[in-house]
């Protein structure tokens, strides 16, 4: 089933977690106007797992940043959980970023010279919780991404994949209702990529909505829905015919992996 360009398949409107209408973003670079997004409309329901694809420069990151309340659109409206984000104050936006959204950046954006656990604890510093609870949740998040044994490592002591997983753990730690990930597997080998996708699929099964940007069709096929961007517009939007299941794939992989290790 292939959706028509620029519009999402019809869904009951009360189930919409995200509704976007005619979203546009224009950067002014001196005299030149760069149109990063040229009118994007779509809806995403609670519990979806969406992969966003598209060529480099097609506006994927710009789109994600706006969804993550990190940036503001030039035109159009963005409604999140029935709240029109454009009308919110800076503090209210900060609260949404803190409570509802977990963001994984294209470059990891970890605090340097700061241990993995302190990085993961960061969002909890801005929500009311005890130090003990903060610590436990950060450990749990790190364990969930398979870094239980790297808790006190600093970013420069971690591989790119491990840093990315710290970033994922930081996005998860506040139990957000949406996780936005901008190329979370961009720097990872295939096995680690599948592991990260497994983390996302598990989260998704718990009801968390996930949007991830990827260049790799393989990775996109773990998602339930695939959207392709081109030149700041949606070119296609369709459900994945038969989403792959990361945990099953992982079970088939260890043998090879162990051989590699030896």
């Amino acid at each position: 089933m292939i959706g028509t360009d620029g519009t999402a398949p019809e869904r009951p409107s009360n189930g919409h977690l995200i509704r976007i209408e005619h979203l546009a973003k224009t950067y002014q670079l001196g005299e030149v106007e760069v149109h990063a997004l040229r009118g994007v409309s779509l809806t995403i329901s609670r519990g979806e797992f969406v992969a966003i694809m598209g060529a480099s420069g097609s506006g994927k990151s710009t789109f994600m940043n706006i969804l993550g309340c990190l940036d503001k659109p030039t035109r159009g409206t963005y409604t999140l959980e029935d709240i029109e984000v454009g009308k919110l104050s800076r503090d209210e936006l900060a609260q949404i970023r803190n409570r509802s959204i977990g963001f994984v950046f294209q470059g990891f954006n970890l605090l340097s010279r700061t241990s993995a656990i302190e990085n993961v604890e960061l969002p909890l510093l801005y929500s009311s919780t005890t130090q003990k609870d903060r610590h436990q949740r950060a450990i749990r998040a790190l364990e969930a991404v398979g870094l239980g044994d790297r808790v006190h490592h600093f970013p420069n002591q971690l591989s790119g994949g491990q840093q990315q997983r710290v970033a994922v753990a930081r996005a998860l730690v506040n139990d957000p209702s949406i996780v936005l990930a901008d190329e979370p597997t961009g720097n990872l080998d295939s096995r680690t990529s599948v592991e990260v996708m497994d983390v996302f699929q598990q989260l998704n099964q718990k009801g968390i909505t996930i949007l991830l940007v990827t260049h790799e069709p393989d990775i996109a096929s773990f998602a339930k829905r695939q959207i392709v961007f081109r030149d700041g517009k949606i070119r296609s939007d369709r459900p994945t015919t038969d989403p792959r299941v990361a945990s099953t794939i992982l079970k088939e992989m260890p043998a090879i992996d162990e051989e590699d290790d030896e």
């Binding site: 940043n65 993550g68 309340c69 990190l70 940036d71 503001k72 800076r90 503090d91 900060a94 609260q95 970023r97 803190n98 409570r99 963001f103 950046f105 954006n109 970890l110 605090l111 340097s112 010279r113 700061t114 302190e118 960061l122 969002p123 510093l125 801005y126 929500s127 009311s128 130090q131 930081r170 506040n174």
Partner: protein, 405 residues
């Protein structure tokens, strides 16, 4: 964000950037310590000058031969620019506001005792010299009117001279040769220490002025007359009486200028405080330069770290920090740094001042003003340059802060 969490963030950030934190603090430490030490020295100098001047006695007048010197130029040296013994006696006799009078002359020279010798100043005085100068004899006696009349060859040694010429035995009763004239030592003066100008007041020999004039200088006139008014309140009356008397005795007519000069302690004090004022200003300017340099240091470190901090701010905002969380964190960081640096600076300044006064034998006074001034300035700079860039960054969109280069 709770205060506890803010403190945690601030301390973690300071700990994370130990070098930067240390350098920032160093700027504050140097600035504060320098200002405190410099002002302490200046204030100490001023204080010791004032104290020594008041110790000299506020009712003392010094009469010098010759007209008032203006700007170093000797004005109108007339025929009678001399002071005589008779002038001194007349002052004693005819000026009711004058208490004590000590005629004075002066010689310099080599003093020999046994195989030791010492170059010093020989002050010829009257018997009342000690009382006028509020000085006392520690051992032995002082000379009397009788010694003055018969110009006996006796002398009293200052502590420094006594220590140098007679390191092992008591000088009292011994002979010293001043410019080859033998003098009998009859006493030793109590230790007086340095004067306001840093001169050793104990490096002196006093002897009857008649003996000094006839045996050492062969100069019949007086170099000075030391006078005390009967009370500090009478000082200007005494000065007027002396002026009238001396003008009459020197046969000066109305339009003639005085051919003598009367100095009082107020004049001396003015001269001395003018000197220490200059010293204090000098030290204060050195101190403000170091405060400025310290301030620029703080400024540099804070501004240089802006790029890194802006990205950090972006990251914090992306996970839910509000502008005010960021601002509080940076304010707390800046305050912690400035306070730690400021307190350390005060400690260094206080310790430094006492080390200086120990080495230079110079009193230092630490005033609240210097502490408040330096501390306030450093904190203001630290907080401004730590806080202002953070404020700017906290007002950006998170994504712009993250992208900041």
């Amino acid at each position: 964000m709770k205060l506890m969490n803010i403190l945690i963030s601030a301390f973690r950030a300071l700990h994370r950037n130990k070098m930067r934190s240390f350098l920032t603090m160093l700027g504050i430490i140097i600035g504060v310590a320098a200002v405190i030490a410099m002002l302490a020295i200046g204030q100490g100098a001023q204080f010791s000058v004032e104290q020594q001047i008041s110790a000299l006695g506020t009712n003392v007048l010094i009469i010098l031969p010759g007209a008032q010197q203006t700007g170093g130029v000797h004005m109108g040296a007339g025929s009678a620019t001399t002071l005589t013994e008779e002038d001194a006696q007349a002052i004693q006799r005819e000026c009711p506001s004058v208490g004590l009078v000590s005629p004075g002359t002066r010689a310099g020279g080599q003093v020999i005792a046994g195989n030791l010798n010492w170059a010093t100043g020989i002050e010829g005085t009257g018997p009342d010299y000690l009382e006028i100068r509020k000085w006392t004899v520690e051992y032995g006696d002082f000379y009397t009117d009788q010694d003055i009349k018969s110009a006996t060859k006796v002398c009293v040694l200052g502590k420094t001279v006594a220590d140098n010429l007679f390191p092992e035995q008591s000088p009292v009763g011994q002979n010293v040769r001043i410019r080859n004239v033998p003098f009998k030592v009859i006493g030793i003066l109590a230790k007086k220490g340095q004067n306001a100008m840093g001169q050793d007041q104990d490096d002196i020999i006093v002897a009857p002025y008649t003996t000094v004039a006839r045996r050492l200088t062969w100069y019949p006139y007086l170099r000075q007359i030391l006078v005390s008014a009967i009370s500090p309140a009478n000082i200007s009356v005494a000065q007027r009486q002396i002026t009238e008397l001396l003008r009459m005795r020197h046969k000066l007519v109305t339009n003639d200028a005085d051919d003598f000069t009367i100095r009082n302690q107020a004049d001396l004090a003015t001269a001395a405080t003018a000197t220490t004022d200059i010293l204090t200003i000098l030290l204060a300017s050195i101190a403000s330069v170091s405060l400025l340099v310290g301030g620029i240091g703080i400024m540099n470190i804070m501004l240089v770290s802006v790029t890194e901090r802006t990205r950090e701010i972006g990251i914090r905002m992306s996970v839910g920090a509000r502008s005010r969380d960021i601002l509080t964190q940076f304010l707390v960081e800046a305050l912690v740094l400035s306070l730690l640096g400021g307190i350390t600076g005060i400690l260094f300044g206080v310790v430094g001042s006492s080390v200086i006064s120990g080495i230079a034998k110079w009193p230092t006074i630490i005033t609240t003003f210097s502490i408040v001034l330096s501390f306030g300035f450093s904190i203001a700079i630290g907080v401004f340059f730590g806080f202002y860039p953070a404020r700017k960054a906290a007002m950006l969109n998170p994504i712009d802060a993250l992208r900041y280069e």
